[in-house]
């Protein structure tokens, strides 16, 4: 018997107004141009299998956010994902690109999201609120 708790994967999808090939290429090669994170840092997905996902901060720190575990353009991309934390906190993110009317559907599935680092993620909103009050 195991005490392991089951957590449903997080799933999100979006329509994109371009071909599957373009969507895959823009998602990966130009990750740093669309990723809505901290604007002072740069972000990159190295576009090949075993490539790293890297954040570079203004002070020159390089932080590994994960790695490419499957690289199947233009169908599918799979990453380990642990932004701001070590690999103990890694979940898996799968991104699938499928043809639909007038473009492409991008579907993202995040499994083992519950391992994300609590101190950086979970109560971020709460801590932010506390700092605003203080």
């Amino acid at each position: 018997m195991t005490n392991e708790e089951k957590h449903e994967p997080i799933r999100q999808s979006v329509h994109v107004d371009c071909s599957r090939e373009d969507a895959f290429r823009l998602f990966t090669e130009r990750f740093g141009e669309w990723w809505p994170g901290d604007a002072d840092s740069t972000h990159e997905i190295e576009p090949w299998k075993d490539g790293k996902i890297v954040q570079r901060t203004p002070s020159g720190d390089e932080r590994e956010w994960g790695a490419v575990t499957a690289w199947d353009p233009p169908d599918r991309l799979e990453l380990t994902w642990h932004p701001g934390a070590n690999t103990d906190h890694a979940g898996t993110v799968e991104i699938e690109f499928t043809v639909e009317a007038d473009g492409t559907r991008v579907t993202l599935t995040h499994t083992d999201w519950h391992l994300a680092q609590v101190d950086l993620v979970c109560f971020a909103g709460f801590v932010h609120e506390m700092m605003a009050v203080a």
Partner: protein, 119 residues
């Protein structure tokens, strides 16, 4: 509802953060947590009490053993946070891709319809 200052205090200690991180994988007893952390059982017990009072952790009795687990409400908050993060990220990607490909269309159109023909 836990007091906010209490919650922030519970959360500020690195051992308590480590306990929370372990409990995310599975509910555990005091002994199991102590085995995986560089602190004694009584110290783990004390940290768990603080986390319980702050509403971050709850306790469940299974037979003669007491298991501690992350409060499901907190886990739901984490899920919501990550869900929202991906929603924002995919929306940003969709906008970016639309802009990029309409830029390409314009360039294609310029090439497709060259100069005005003179009669």
């Amino acid at each position: 509802m836990a007091d906010r200052i209490e919650l922030l205090g519970a959360f500020a200690d690195p051992t308590r953060q480590a306990v929370l991180n372990l409990l995310r994988s599975r509910p555990s007893t005091v002994g199991e947590l102590a085995d995986r952390l560089p602190v004694s059982r009584p110290a783990v017990s004390q940290h768990l009490q603080v986390l319980k009072t702050a509403g971050l952790v709850d306790e469940e009795r299974r037979g003669t053993r007491h298991y501690f687990r992350l409060n499901p409400k907190r886990l739901a908050e984490l899920r919501e946070h990550i869900d929202g993060m991906w929603r924002d990220a995919l929306a940003a990607f969709s906008n970016f891709a639309a802009k990029e490909s309409s830029g390409n269309d314009k360039r294609r159109k310029t090439r497709a319809y060259p100069t005005k023909r003179s009669r």
